[in-house]
């Protein structure tokens, strides 16, 4: 290998781009295909020859069909409502607890912390049947509350925020107490502002998880008008009976778009957040 320095650099760069471009194309192919198909009229979807671009643009009819056949905007609104409510409740519940675990001494702390760690390992499906029965007795099945209330507690959130609060200097806490703050004021006016990066990371996990959750809405929701986006996707798919892919892809574009746009807009925070939870959690 007697290549000159710059030639070798060039070769390496070209090879890197070749490999990564091929990979990126495979990873983006479903998204590209989804968008392209959502623009095609029905007779161009099932063709013998592979055609990438639509010859006749069916954008208006496909998206109109997607928006009118099922209440798609309603699903998106439900998803937004449920995710926001869950996140707000989770933060209200977990911040004081995380603060207590990080900065206060109390009897039984070790055992309480072990219970949190135990709860962290409980899979979502394990609690489903008792929770379902409980909601049934409370008359809460088939309501949006049934999608929100069981997730108001997040052991992962307590764990993450406790780890973060431990890195906050004790002096800050002492200073706030000397200024006459109560413990509750301290949590919301001192700890909360310092915790914004970690809370952002937690929010990403919470929103991505609950926006995409299909299992729980499928169990507790039976009215189409209460469906969240994933459940709505399945209602829509059943309506279309797998024949007309154009409107179906238009529907999936509309359902995946909010989270993807959020990700692209806040990409740096998104990846930082995932990294923070992945490396420290």
């Amino acid at each position: 290998m007697m290549l000159t320095f710059s030639a070798r650099t060039f070769l390496f760069r070209a090879l890197r781009h070749l490999l990564l471009m091929a990979g990126a194309l495979v990873f983006l192919a479903p998204f590209i295909w989804m968008v392209l198909t959502s623009l095609k009229p029905v007779d161009e979807v099932f063709t013998r020859e592979l055609t990438l671009l639509p010859t006749r643009l069916a954008l208006v009819e496909n998206y109109t069909e997607a928006l009118t056949r099922v209440p798609l905007l309603r699903y998106l609104w439900n998803g937004l409502l449920v995710c926001t409510a869950i996140l707000v409740l989770q933060i209200v519940v977990l911040l004081p607890a995380a603060y207590a675990f990080a900065k206060l001494q109390f009897r039984g702390k070790t055992w309480a912390w072990r219970l949190v760690l135990l709860a962290l390992m409980i899979p979502h499906q394990a609690t489903a049947i008792p929770t379902y029965v409980m909601l049934h007795h409370l008359g809460m099945l088939n309501t949006l509350s049934a999608l929100i209330v069981p997730f108001s507690i997040s052991a992962f959130g307590i764990f993450l925020m406790r780890q973060f609060f431990r890195t906050v200097p004790d002096d800050l806490v002492h200073a706030a107490r000397l200024d006459g703050m109560s413990e509750f004021e301290l949590v919301w006016r001192v700890m909360l502002p310092t915790a914004v990066p970690a809370l952002f990371a937690f929010a990403i996990f919470s929103v991505v998880w609950h926006w995409n959750d299909y299992f729980w809405p499928l169990l507790v929701i039976s009215s189409p008008e209460l469906a969240t986006p994933p459940l709505g996707t399945m209602f829509f798919r059943n309506e279309e009976a797998g024949i007309n892919y154009g409107p179906l892809m238009a529907g999936t574009v509309l359902i995946t778009a909010p989270l993807l746009l959020l990700f692209i807009a806040a990409q740096k925070r998104f990846i930082e957040g995932v990294t923070l939870t992945g490396v420290k959690g």
């Binding site: 990873f27 479903p30 219970l115 609690t127 413990e183 986006p229 994933p230 989270l259």
Partner: protein
């Protein structure tokens, strides 16, 4: 400073109550019910001990599903880690288009999987799907990816890898960034450069015999052999430290970041 126990209790009580009601309580209930003959919605139940577990274990469908799950788990984990590490190393090795590649590989993680599953179902459609179109284009036989009993699990695992690899990549990227500079410097001295940050700088391979100690040392940097202490010990290769500039002329050379 000691905080009043009542305050601590108030801070902890909402989380504690919800933890017991929605997580620990239901799990305990499920654990107890698994030892009874309770039917969904029934008012009475009898203690049956471990009979349910015995029945589950003797059920061939359960065993098959367990085996399928394990295979799926191994395939997706191995695939996602391998692709995640590979892409992370390639992306980190240079600065061009870093942001674009990171976004492209991470997009499946942020997408709604159920909606993307519908898209995948269409991509893998036996007659109209993109995958079979591509296969026919290069002259291969089209397959019914999701209904062929031998292929379905592998098709699903491929979708799983597609969805998870970006997450692994981001964690590897963070790990690569946190490798301390002195480790990188040491690796550079040993002739490892930015093109191969994951490659261990390694021990010099020494194939020397006691009679001709310095004959066959292979090392990317100027190398000498020395005898380790003690008469019975084997001779060792020792790489003499060279400057990073000298190491840049070795086989792996690309500019350091």
């Amino acid at each position: 400073m000691r905080v009043h126990p009542l305050n601590t209790l108030l801070l902890l009580s909402p989380a504690t109550v919800l933890l017991l009601v929605f997580l620990l309580g239901p799990v305990a209930v499920v654990a107890v019910l698994s030892l009874t003959d309770w039917q969904f919605g029934a008012a009475t139940l009898n203690w049956v001990g471990l009979a349910n577990y015995a029945e589950l274990w003797s059920d061939p469908v359960f065993r098959q599903s367990l085996a399928n799950t394990l295979l799926y788990l191994v395939l997706v984990t191995a695939g996602a880690v391998a692709i995640g590490l590979g892409t992370a190393l390639l992306i980190e090795s240079d600065t061009q288009l870093r942001g674009f590649y990171r976004t492209a590989f991470f997009m499946p993680v942020a997408s709604t999987l159920i909606a993307m599953a519908v898209v995948w179902q269409f991509l893998l459609h036996p007659s109209a799907g993109l995958v079979n179109h591509m296969l026919q284009w290069v002259g291969l036989q089209p397959q019914d990816w999701l209904n062929n009993r031998r292929l379905a699990l592998y098709s699903l695992a491929a979708i799983g890898v597609w969805q998870m690899a970006g997450l692994a990549m981001v964690l590897f990227l963070a790990g690569l960034k946190s490798i301390p500079q002195d480790v990188r410097d040491a690796a550079a001295l040993d002739g490892v450069t930015a093109a191969s940050p994951g490659r261990c700088s390694g021990q010099p391979r020494c194939s020397s015999s006691p009679s001709a100690p310095s004959a066959h040392c292979r090392c990317s940097t100027p190398c000498t052999c020395s005898r380790a202490a003690g008469p019975t010990s084997r001779p060792r290769c020792c790489c003499t430290p060279s400057t990073p500039k000298a190491s840049a002329s070795s086989a792996w050379a690309t500019p350091a970041p």
